[in-house]
Symmetry: C2
């Protein structure tokens, strides 16, 4: 590809779509032409990119002529329907949905982990689930130094992970609560203000929901380690932005807090926030708007006596590193 490329964003009006525009501008991504695509409902809307107005066009199979990189983030159904047309038009698709992630032959990439997979694409590269990315960025460098055999993770996931509507729903419920009005549920199955609930994706046969099973399967594919064992509990909390995760790691050999700190202090995409005296650790409020995954509460797992356990608490912006930033990083390595 040449230095400046023709870019399309599918789902340009969504939470991740909007974040794509912010991240592309911030990173000075070399764009020759920019096409913003969305459903017929959103077509005609005006969206700004670097101070210039763009009109959102309706997504069709013919939208991709001349497009070189197409970022998809409009849901798995849209990707399944339209990504093949983009690929047929010779665009490289970076897909932010779950549609193709587990398909054999399609790279599933976190650049800090497996950037070498990017060049093996056949027109389509999948961006992992946000909770997976946020966990993988700090765990991978540890895994390389001392194989991680097992991960037990509990998440604290922000409402905007469900889409821009999740943020609107939390805010509407906050306003209602403060004014003493009835709290209306719209799309979330349960009240989210002043509450939390198990991630509202379908529960599979094994008792885990889709989000939890993604964290297992995707981590194995990204790490290239089908033996790594993961048990996840995914929970939605009344936080606007940035997912947090409580992570318990079991290593093959003993691992010390000092080793973990040394490894993570040099790890790309990681920022250590671990001030025990000041009680200052990763928080979604501070992770929001950042590309780094904040990592803290680094401590030896006291529930084992063989020194092979480490516990961490992390927060990462799921719209940035968990979605748009990761996809743009992939695209940067394509050009």
């Amino acid at each position: 590809m040449s230095a400046a490329v023709n870019v399309a964003i599918v789902g340009a009006t969504g939470a991740v779509g909007q974040e794509f525009l912010t991240v592309l501008a911030e990173r000075d991504f070399p764009i020759r032409s920019l096409k913003l695509l969305a459903s017929a409902r959103s077509a005609g809307k005006r969206v700004e990119y670097r101070g210039q107005p763009y009109v959102v066009e309706e997504l069709t199979r013919d939208s991709f002529e001349g497009v070189q990189i197409a970022f998809f983030s409009a849901g798995g159904g849209i990707s399944k329907e339209f990504a093949p047309a983009a690929v047929a038009s010779k665009a490289v698709v970076v897909d932010n949905t779950s549609a193709f992630r587990m398909k054999e032959g399609i790279p599933l990439v976190v650049p800090e982990v497996n950037a070498e997979q990017i060049q093996r694409h056949n027109g389509l590269i999948a961006n992992p689930n946000c909770s997976t990315i946020i966990m993988n960025v700090p765990v991978w460098p540890l895994h390389r130094a001392n194989r991680v055999k097992r991960i037990i993770v509990s998440t604290y996931q922000a409402v905007s992970g469900a889409g821009a509507w999740g943020l609107h729903e939390l805010e509407a419920q906050q306003r209602a609560y403060v004014s003493g009005e009835p709290i209306a549920k719209e799309k979330f199955p349960h009240q989210i203000v002043n509450n939390l609930f198990s991630h509202n994706t379908k529960i599979a046969e094994n008792g885990y929901n889709e989000e939890e099973n993604k964290m297992v399967q995707e981590t194995r594919k990204i790490f290239g380690d089908p033996r790594i064992m993961v048990a996840a509990t995914c929970v939605r909390v009344p936080v606007p932005r940035a997912h947090s995760e409580s992570i318990n790691l079991e290593f093959e050999r003993p691992m010390s807090v000092e080793q973990v700190r040394a490894i993570l202090s040099n790890a790309p995409g990681v920022k250590i926030v671990d001030d025990r005296d000041a009680n200052h650790f990763p928080m979604p409020l501070e992770a929001s708007g950042q590309d780094d995954v904040l990592v803290g509460r680094i401590r030896q797992d006291i529930s084992r006596d063989d020194g092979r356990g480490i516990e961490l608490f992390v927060s990462g912006d799921q719209l940035r590193k968990g979605a748009a930033t990761n996809a743009v990083q992939i695209a940067e390595r394509l050009i």
Copy 2:
């Protein structure tokens, strides 16, 4: 003791103190006389109990004459200073603070677990930490059936666990956020609305904070099993009331979901809320105001292949079963 007793509540104006009044009335606790005690600052305040006004009196060493049961919930310092005076006056103290919990010879009681310890008191019985109680109620009956060797737990703790001020601070920040005003921090070290943070208690040498270490030490004492291994991560979330916990259990022998369900469906103090089809699991909103600990997300731990792992998600009202209800249950067994 006779059928109706003389009761004192120390810390009557606090979040737990107020809950004591609600729980005593609801359970029709046989009160002959009721003395409400608090600091000089709160003395003179009027508080209702069963429609009758009571005037809060200043707590002194002489407050306990004729008192038979004294509930303490005004902080560890107050308990250390005044509980001995209450005991000297022949009251039995049920102490809701951490002051005496780990002292040898002082029973630490969750009635569903170790009620037999109540009669071994020497004037003082300790009520465990709220997060410990909420975890112990569902884990104990499983532990009895098949020894639990190791627990990995991550909490989602409500602001009122810090005291009535925690709730006021969350609400003040919610109002400020909704009106677009600056969000003021008062007593919490970090913003709590739209955020979450590691439990703001001191971090010990081992890297765990006080709340986390309580869950380890207290569980060992209550279960009478010094070998049980626990690793906890305690997190404060923007929820007014009821703590939730993501619990990973390792058993001595294989344990199935069906066995867990069968045991928990007959366990005292437990209510199973585990509807996979409806995606309905324990939530703080539904646990609030209830004495039962809600238990759901019951599933086989897929991160191990020996069938010895079970995962749970629980919610329990930390002011009721986590504090006032547990203490009143202890008192009921004293009379």
